[in-house]
Point group: C2
Chain length 341, copies 2
């Protein structure tokens, strides 16, 4: 496989993407990595890493889409940006997967515009890794904010694509799919979630029903389905509440001498706990529903995160997830049409 | 003022409501409390409390709407339930405010059907108290789940009513109103939130703009405006994440002898922290937009929570919040009509 890596995407580019590529290349001697970016800049970073292998190459691209750029305009105008060049290489078969820590909106829009939607998929989506706060393996939340408004069919698509990804890429057979809703009962929710419930229930997916937001942190399902607005609220609120509580705890531990000693004694446990919410280990999150494999990394990705995004994302390309989605989508579409008779 | 209390609402009725009424009556010698319920049962509880005052009376009602009842059907059929009898008393002027820890859906539906909407209000709403996780006073979240789908005008109404309530009942002048959205920028969101942003911005409210879910726990505004689906997700997810983290911490403290000792030393700080999220002190949450004051208490309310709901909710009746909403609503309606020309 040939992995195309955005050498200038993310807060710590080009250093961390290049270091991550070098680490990944060492573990993947039979695969190639092409780093997209300004040749001299990338080469300088490679030299710093004392890279001696032959499975990393550089593809020139001299512009960068920044966090401030408007996605659609940037994709159309910044044709020499690492993101646009990388996606075009993927489209043209000059690589098998594109990995980037750059502007999320631009990556999603670019993937849709340049690679195109899988036939039958109405809305490509961005998934996100959601922590299991009971200490187990994380879940996949779909949609993480690619579309702010979704129809019932879109939610069904998210469930289907998320389920395939978790099963094939995370190697978790028959993953449980849950729908975020106002209550667990079948009749609950908006017209969209009620309709989505029926479609998910009638599908071949392992649908476990509605999931209340209270249960979301407890890994009650492997694939958390919701529209992008709710997905955005879930991801950001989880972060906001977690950070606020850890800050309050830190403050509480400074109350008096006794609590300070107690705090010192439990410091390593608290640090370990914070690390549990850090999914660098788990790699990036997939853009799903486009015609080629695209992986989004967090903007603040370290070299380890980049390495893991490449290593753990590889099955997205190797297992031909796009092909599987294409086939399964046809199944579901037939079913939806039958259902509407 | 005469407060009507649902004697059979909540998980710990009739004991806790009656004990709470007795505690409130002692602090409100110039006000009356009418407890609605089966006379013998309520009297027995009053006797247990050794209540000697003359400002508590009982109004007979022999049926109860349970948590399992379907709201609309229960309001229509259970005409002798404490909830329906209490709301009818309020409607007929046999009291100034109704307070209940019963079935939330039934209370909201009953308030709307029996008391009617304030003229100009399209959607009455249920507010909820939201903790300030930086340690300050809580915020008011509107809508907490009364309507799962809201139009832009509804969000404007929620902002207006929440703002009046926080200013007059919580005595917090010129409260900040924020709109939960995908990003802080003006153009972000769904068609509904974009439209609501413009309406809130053009209104006389102290609108501070969009608020990302990440910031919600940090008290960036006094009134958090969102539709009921998102409100439900915010409230339940905050609870779910908080409880999960406290559970993880408890587990982490049991790792080894050192952490156990540390845990023992910080126990009182952690307990204090948990209590900060417990808003018993702050009283109940208002149903807003109906023609009389109605206060909803948490289903698991203790006597203290009941007492505080009565004491702290009193300005809802005393300050004629319903009248203020009626007047301010006319202002906003004129403005909306002008705006549409």
């Amino acid at each position: 496989m040939k992995i195309i890596l955005d050498g200038m995407g993310g807060d710590f580019a080009p250093q961390e993407p290049v270091k991550g590529a070098v680490a990944a290349a060492a573990e993947l001697p039979n695969h190639e990595i092409v780093i997209v970016g300004p040749v001299e800049v990338i080469q300088e970073e490679l030299d710093k890493c004392k890279f001696k292998g032959d499975n990393i190459s550089i593809r020139e691209a001299n512009d960068v889409i920044t966090m401030e750029d408007s996605p659609v305009r940037a994709i159309r105008r910044k044709t020499d940006s690492t993101l646009v060049v990388g996606l075009n290489m993927l489209k043209d078969g000059q690589g098998d997967m594109f990995v980037s820590a750059g502007n999320t909106g631009a990556l999603v829009v670019g993937a849709r515009l340049i690679l195109g939607r899988i036939r039958g998929i109405d809305r490509p989506t961005l998934a996100s890794i959601y922590p299991d706060m009971t200490g187990g393996d994380p879940c996949l939340l779909v949609d993480a904010g690619a579309s702010s408004e979704s129809k019932a069919n879109n939610l069904l698509e998210y469930g289907l694509m998320g389920s395939i990804y978790v099963e094939k890429v995370w190697d978790r057979p028959n993953p449980k799919v849950g729908l975020v809703n106002l209550g667990v009962e079948e009749g609950k929710g908006t017209s969209v979630t009620k309709d989505a419930f029926q479609k998910l229930k009638a599908s071949h997916l392992n649908f476990v029903g509605n999931v209340e937001a209270r249960e979301v942190p407890k890994h009650v399902c492997d694939v958390i389905v919701c529209d992008g607005f709710v997905g955005n609220v879930i991801l950001k609120l989880t972060e906001g509440v977690s950070l606020s509580i850890f800050k309050l705890i830190k403050g509480a531990l400074m109350t008096n001498m006794k609590s300070k000693i107690g705090g010192a004694l439990i410091k390593s446990q608290l640090t370990a706990l914070k690390d549990e919410f850090d999914y660098e280990e788990y790699g990036g999150a997939p853009v799903l529903g486009v015609n080629k494999p695209v992986i989004k990394m967090h903007g603040s990705s370290s070299a380890t995160a980049v390495k893991n995004a490449i290593l753990r994302g590889l099955p997205y390309a190797e297992e031909d997830i796009v092909g599987v989605i294409r086939t399964e989508m046809l199944k579901i579409q037939e079913f939806i049409e039958e259902d509407e008779d």
